[in-house]
């Protein structure tokens, strides 16, 4: 009996994936555990190892194609075996996904995910959505192969182009017109009578899976979660001094301020479990574990890998984990289980000199901390001016989960840890 290889679900938010590369060809023999394809999920490009052994009877999905989870992508079996029936019967892969199994529905929120600021991110969804075939509009657009290729090369979504061919088929001329600006002649000039200005057209972009996920989840977050924001200015002189000491004492361990923030957040969450919580649609769910996620910018967007059980770790442990996560995330080498599962997110734009910003809560969490840069500025101590190290953080909170005082108390505790960092190490 032929085995249908279906597009695997390689992340908990993955609804569809792209065959980035096939490592096998029709006729090849495949062993169990052999890497057969690279699959681009909404998060990363994953190596996909075969669960089954056999000869590759057919490659169903081509490189570059987008398919919903469960779509047959290849067939394994014995050489010469008739697989058409099996293949026909397997079409349900995507259909099965279109109707999530009931028991999965409530649980799917169990690992809600952190979020960051302007860079949204996604991981786990409170409500798993069916991998509706229509989710990738481009696959449903009638387009000539050339138009499809040209649009892809230009980074334009076919679904944004109006087709002028038979039955609305998008053809080369339409893509050309879109590239040039809706057929209006593309880059050109306009004049107000005195001066002439160059005009350039808008360009609809082809979205990566990650960008699509971010767009969707951040839209949901902003629309559904009633955010409120609390800002506090922290004295970081103690933290700076401690980091200098640690650097000297432990030259092999590179500890960043962000590591200190992450650990401080974890310790504060331990004291304020009402902040380590989220709204599941009906009620507040308090998380048992503390997994502080760190927003990491990658090429196509950002992801939020968690430092698991953060509050139980030492600062140097945290530092080691964040370094490893950051490096692998940027190399697209992070497996899905390391990318998801945060219960609170820390987003830090201090390295860009951003003093303060407001972040959007990652659905599945109750708050997010936006961390600004450490500033050198004059501060008044005991009535006298002296040089100081200050850092502003902003906490965005889900008002359904907590009120202003709860958030404020959390920030006060956090301030305690960061201004007297030795307390974290106690």
């Amino acid at each position: 009996m032929a085995t249908i290889v279906e597009l695997p679900r390689l992340s908990d938010t993955m609804e569809e994936g792209v065959i980035a590369k096939w490592h096998i060809a029709e006729g090849d023999k495949v062993k169990r555990g052999q890497v057969i394809a690279d699959i681009e999920t909404d998060k990363a490009t994953m190596e996909y190892e075969s669960f089954d052994a056999g000869t590759v009877l057919k490659i169903v999905a081509s490189e570059g194609d987008t398919h919903p989870i469960g779509t047959p992508i290849a067939v394994l079996g014995k050489p010469g075996e008739d697989f058409e029936e099996a293949l026909a019967g397997a079409g349900g892969g995507s259909k099965a996904k279109a109707e999530p199994e009931p028991q999965e529905e409530p649980e799917s929120t169990e690992e809600p995910e952190p979020e960051s600021t302007e860079e949204p991110e996604s991981t786990q969804e409170p409500e798993p959505e069916p991998a509706a075939p229509s989710s990738d509009a481009d696959d449903r657009v009638a387009a000539s192969p050339l138009a499809r290729r040209l649009a892809h090369e230009a980074g334009i979504a076919l679904s944004t182009i109006e087709g002028s061919g038979p039955h609305g088929r998008v053809i080369k001329a339409d893509v050309d017109a879109a590239i040039e600006g809706g057929g209006g002649g593309g880059t050109g000039t306009v004049s107000d009578g005195e001066r002439t200005f160059v005009t350039r057209p808008d360009t609809p972009m082809k979205l990566s899976q990650m960008r699509k996920t971010i767009a969707r989840r951040m839209g949901e977050s902003n629309a559904e979660i009633p955010h409120f924001y609390l800002t506090i200015d922290l004295d970081m002189a103690g933290a700076v001094a401690m980091r200098t000491q640690l650097k000297a004492a432990l030259p092999d361990v590179k500890i960043s301020y962000n590591d200190m923030v992450i650990l401080a957040v974890a310790k504060a969450l331990q004291k304020h479990p009402e902040v380590n919580a989220y709204w599941d649609g009906k009620t507040i769910v308090r998380r048992g574990d503390i997994h502080v996620g760190m927003a990491v910018a990658v090429d196509e967007g950002l992801i939020v890998p968690p430092v698991r059980h953060t509050e139980q770790r030492t600062l140097s442990e945290v530092a080691g984990i964040t370094r490893s996560l950051g490096t692998r995330a940027r190399d697209k080498k992070l497996p899905p289980d390391e990318m998801t599962g945060s219960t609170f997110t820390v987003s830090n734009l201090g390295m860009f000199g951003i003093e303060q910003f407001l972040a959007v809560i990652n659905p599945g969490e109750g708050a997010i901390l936006a961390v600004g840069a450490i500033r050198d500025e004059a501060v008044v101590v005991d009535g006298a001016l002296q040089p100081g190290k200050r850092m502003r953080v902003n906490l965005a909170c889900d008002h359904r989960v907590m009120d202003g005082a709860v958030g404020a108390q959390f920030l006060v505790t956090l301030r305690g840890y960061l201004e007297q960092p030795l307390a974290m190490l106690a």
Binding site: S144, P145, S164
Partner: protein, 327 residues
């Protein structure tokens, strides 16, 4: 440059090759005393005598097979079918002997011979005499298949065919023997396996051969008047295909139309369409169109035959369709 009819160009090719190589001979019905049913072999009997210009009884299987045997023994036969419709009688000799004996003998034998004659529908001859045989003869290995539509190509390719050491199926056209064109004086050869761009263009590739060539050029002219710039490729050799010429053009124009005398089911038209679909898929801006015979046995009645054969207008319509040109 001298202007010759296709029949004269073919005759020059045969004449020159017979002059050049005394192993070359012509055999077929009415090729000698009658001077050829279509006058291709006119005067050759007088010049070369009965040994080398051989009239046969009506015995296609016989003289096709004799040609195969003679070729194996070192001669270079040109076997004329009065029409390729009659080659059906000799099909076994071509399929099972000419095309296979080199392979079967492990390369001991070569079969240097040409089967030539008119192919495809002429005018009101009904079903048994109106058949295009390219799909049959291109459908198996061991032969090369050539189809010509101009005097220049006819001469240059027939000479190459005669010199080729393989069995060559060489298609001419009953209705095109009188077509005139320039043929250079002196020796020249056109390599088998190379297509010819009969009309360069940038917007639509129209691939054709044989009797399809003149009607396609006419359609290209109609297209030009409508602002569509067509490139017309005459395949000339139907097997092996000049893949590069086809793909290069389609990658340039992004559109392809096949226009030819032949049935739609299988055959060279389907093969070329398949090639384009596989090798130039992402260069296509429109589905490949095919304009060819209707999938029916031909009728004698003029109006019914006309409907079954591709017309310049139909080809033009296909060109306009792939160019998304609204009419």
């Amino acid at each position: 440059m001298p202007i010759l009819q296709i029949r004269e160009a073919l005759r020059e090719a045969i004449d020159e090759e017979m002059e050049r190589d005394d192993r070359v001979f012509v055999m077929g019905e009415e090729v000698g005393y009658y001077n050829g049913a279509y006058k291709v072999t006119q005067g050759l009997l007088e010049k070369y005598g009965e040994q080398r210009v051989v009239d046969t009884p009506i015995a296609e299987a016989g003289f096709a097979g004799v040609g195969v045997g003679a070729a194996m023994a070192g001669l270079r036969p040109i076997i004329e079918f009065m029409t390729f419709n009659f080659s059906a009688v000799a099909f076994d000799q071509i399929l099972n002997n000419a095309a296979k004996l080199r392979h079967l003998s492990g390369g001991q034998f070569t079969i240097p011979m040409v089967f030539r004659g008119p192919n495809a529908a002429a005018h009101m001859l009904s079903s048994t005499h109106s058949q295009a045989f390219e799909s049959f003869y291109c459908g198996f290995p061991g032969v090369k298949v050539v189809s010509v539509a101009t005097p220049y190509d006819a001469k240059g390719l027939l000479k190459s065919a005669i010199r080729d050491d393989n069995p060559i199926i060489f298609f001419e056209s009953e209705v095109m023997y009188g077509v005139k064109g320039e043929v250079p004086e002196g020796e020249y050869l056109i390599p088998i396996g190379q297509a010819d761009i009969k009309r360069p263009g940038s917007q639509v590739t129209v691939i054709t051969w044989g009797q399809g060539v003149p009607i396609t050029l006419e359609a290209a002219k109609m297209a030009e008047e409508s602002g569509i710039d067509c490139e017309v490729i005459d395949l000339l050799t139907l097997r092996p295909l000049d893949r590069d010429a086809i793909l290069q053009s389609v990658k340039k124009t992004n559109r392809a139309v096949l226009a030819y005398h032949g049935w739609p089911y299988g055959g060279t038209g389907a093969e070329v369409a398949d090639l384009i679909a596989r090798e130039a898929f992402y260069d296509l801006d429109a589905p490949v169109e095919r304009v060819c015979y209707e999938d029916i046995n031909f009728s004698y009645a003029e109006n019914l035959e006309e409907l079954a054969i591709p017309s310049p207008k139909q080809i033009f319509d296909a060109i306009a369709k792939v160019a998304y040109h609204s009419l």
